[in-house]
C-alpha cells in the first residue's frame, strides 16, 4: 500500500504507526506526528494502524528565531 510521509510517497506493508516509526529509527525520539491532518498523541502510536492513502507529517524541533 502507499502512504505519503512528509510529502514523499512510500510503499509499505500494513502496520501500526509504532512499528513504522521504529523502522525509521525515530521511535522514542522527540517528534510529533500528524495523520491525515489530526495530531496523534504518543500514547496512541501502537493502536493506530496505517492504511492505504494515509498522509503522515512527522516533525521535530530545529533552530529558529
Amino acid at each position: 500500500m502507499q502512504v505519503s510521509v512528509n510529502g514523499q510517497i512510500e510503499e509499505i506493508e500494513g502496520q501500526s504507526l509504532n512499528s513504522y516509526l521504529a523502522s525509521k529509527l525515530i521511535l522514542g525520539r522527540r517528534i510529533a506526528v500528524e495523520l491525515n491532518g489530526e495530531i496523534v498523541p504518543k500514547s496512541q502510536f501502537s493502536s493506530v494502524m496505517l492504511v492505504d492513502g494515509d498522509v503522515l507529517e512527522i516533525v521535530h524541533a530545529i533552530g529558529g528565531g
Partner: protein, 259 residues
Amino acid sequence: MTDILQVGSYTFKSRLLVGTGKYCDLDEAGRAIEASGADVVTMAVRRTNLGQNPNEPNLLDVITPDRYTLLPNTAGCHTADDAVRTCQLARELLDGHNLVKLEVISKSRTLYPDVVETLNAARMLVKDRFEVMVYTSDDPLIATELEAIGCVAVMPLGAPIGSGLGLQNPYNIREILDNLKVPVIVDAGVGTASDATVAMELGCEGVLINTAIAEAKDPVKMARAMRFAIESGRLAYEAGRMPKKRYADASSPEIGLIE
C-alpha cells in the same frame, strides 16, 4: 526586590529572549544561549528527515526543556491555518506546553507580519487555550487589538527580521507601551547591544534576539553583551533618566572657587 518578567502564567528571571537559528552548530548555539542568561528560547518546527542519520543531535537534547522554556514559533507560516497547525504540533512535541510565538509573515522581502492572518490565528489559538506571544508590526492599533483578543505578550518589530537596523520607530513602540497592559517585547531588528538597551530604556518588558547574536563574529561574547545591555536598559528605565536640556549645567559647584 527581584525583577521578574511575567508572561501569562509564566515567570522569567531574564528579560532577554533568544533564538536558536543561524548558528554554525548546536554546540555554538548552546554556549551562546548559556552566556545570554536567557530563560526563554525560541525554536522552529520542521519535517523530520527520515532515514538520514537518525543519531544526529536534536535541538532539544542541547536546549533541554527542563532548563529552558522552549518557545516554538510559527516561522514560515503564511496563513492562520498553517500557524495554528504548527502550534498544535509543537504542543504535542513539547508534551502539552502551551506557550507559543505566533508569527504569520508575508511572502515579501521585508518578511513583514501579515497582520490580518496574525489576528485570525491569534483568535483561533487563544480559543484553543494556547498562551500566545505574538510577533506583529509596530502599529499601535493592531497591538491593542491583539491584547484584546487575549495574547499574553505583544511583540512588535524594531526593524525587519534579521536586518540589525535597530529600533526604527521608537515613538510607535512608546505608544504601544502606553496603551497595553500585557508585556511588550521588541522582537526583531536589534543589531547590537545598544539597540537592545534603547528598547529596554523605552520601557519594553523584554527583547527577543536571534541574528544579532548568531551572526556576530563571536556569538558567545555578543550573547554576554546582550545580557548586560538588557540589564542596563532595564535598570536605567527603572531609575528614570534625567531630563534633556539644551544647554550645559555644570556638575561641580560654582561657589567656593579659589581666587
